[in-house]
Amino acid sequence: MNHLSEETINEYLDHALTPELRAKSELHLAACPTCAARLGELRALFGHLASLPELALEVDLASQFKKNPAPLPPSIRWLTLVEALIALFALVLFWPLAETTLPSVPIPTTMGFWPDGNPLFADGFILNLDLQLPRLGLDLPVAALALTVISATLLWLLGNGLLLSPRSRRIL
């Protein structure tokens, strides 16, 4: 007895045979245990594949296609403005302090620090910087100025921290 080819058995299960060929195959399968067993194995494989479950996706791919990013909440926008104003204010207040402390700043040589007695450099410094800053006429204690600068710095760090937090930053 001639058996059905692998191709015919596969096409039989795929419903890809012509009606005539399908009818002939069915007659043969009814009479041939070998081909019926091969068909059964292939059908079992189809069942295994059909039973394979789907996995759940754990990320949302749709979020990258959001139309417009959500605007920053009003509180964050106001905080940014206040930060900028405080920083500007602190800069204005700090200016007189800079006038008194920066005029003479020793800068060490770029070749490294040379102790006194170096044959090239008599005093260890090659450059004195003499800054002439404009005077604003404000006279404030150093402690008050320092407090202002420290407060402005802390506010700046806090504000940037809020801006950089995931809930508040813009979606780009």
Binding site: H48, L52, P53, L55, L61, Q64, F65
Partner: protein
């Protein structure tokens, strides 16, 4: 031809409406991810390829007929991307991830364990196939394409498609019958 339920979303998306495309993505992302996972076997890689699939689909949306359903098309895009990715990656076999399969309702724990083991065996057997055989199984059994549609999707002769599919089934059946596999 009956109107595709996605038609309105596709038409809006083709006009540049990203929210509309986002809705299409949301409704098909799980299916696309599973196409990639069946072909690649590694979750992170499958997520990356799924994302790339939708980016590619967004770029090519102007070529898509809005009368047709979106899911079959985007799944084919995913399959082709994965095939290219596998070709570029070479024949390295990935380590199979621990699965989190959806359990059938009402299953008892021992049955669940057996189902998971069977699923892992099937996935491992699929990953052992050469990429072209894997794609043939994916397109026929999971995307239900006809031989002719497979040949068109893969841009190869019908005889090659049938040969790959039948050979793939034979190899799969042998592996699944092997009690020592994987």
């Amino acid at each position: 031809m009956t109107e595709s339920p996605d038609r309105d979303l596709i038409v809006r998306a083709r006009r540049g409406d990203r929210d509309a495309f986002g809705e299409l993505v949301r409704s098909t992302q799980n299916a696309v991810f599973n196409v990639c996972y069946r072909l690649l076997g590694e979750r992170r890689e499958a997520e990356d390829l799924a994302q790339e699939t939708f980016i590619r689909a967004w770029d090519k949306l102007h070529t898509f007929d809005p009368q047709r359903p979106f899911l079959p098309w985007v799944r084919r895009v995913a399959a082709n991307l994965c095939l290219n990715h596998l070709s570029a990656r070479g024949s390295d076999l990935p380590e199979l991830n621990e699965e989190h399969d959806l359990a059938a309702p009402g299953t008892t724990p021992p049955l669940l364990v057996e189902q998971r083991q069977q699923a892992e065996k099937i996935r491992a057997a699929l990953l052992r196939l050469p990429p072209r055989y894997r794609i043939a199984i994916e397109l026929r059994h999971f995307q239900e394409l006809s031989y002719e549609e497979m040949a068109q999707a893969l841009n190869c002769p019908l005889s090659d498609v049938k040969s790959d599919l039948f050979r793939a089934r034979k190899l799969l059946a042998e592996k699944l019958k092997d009690p020592d596999f994987p």
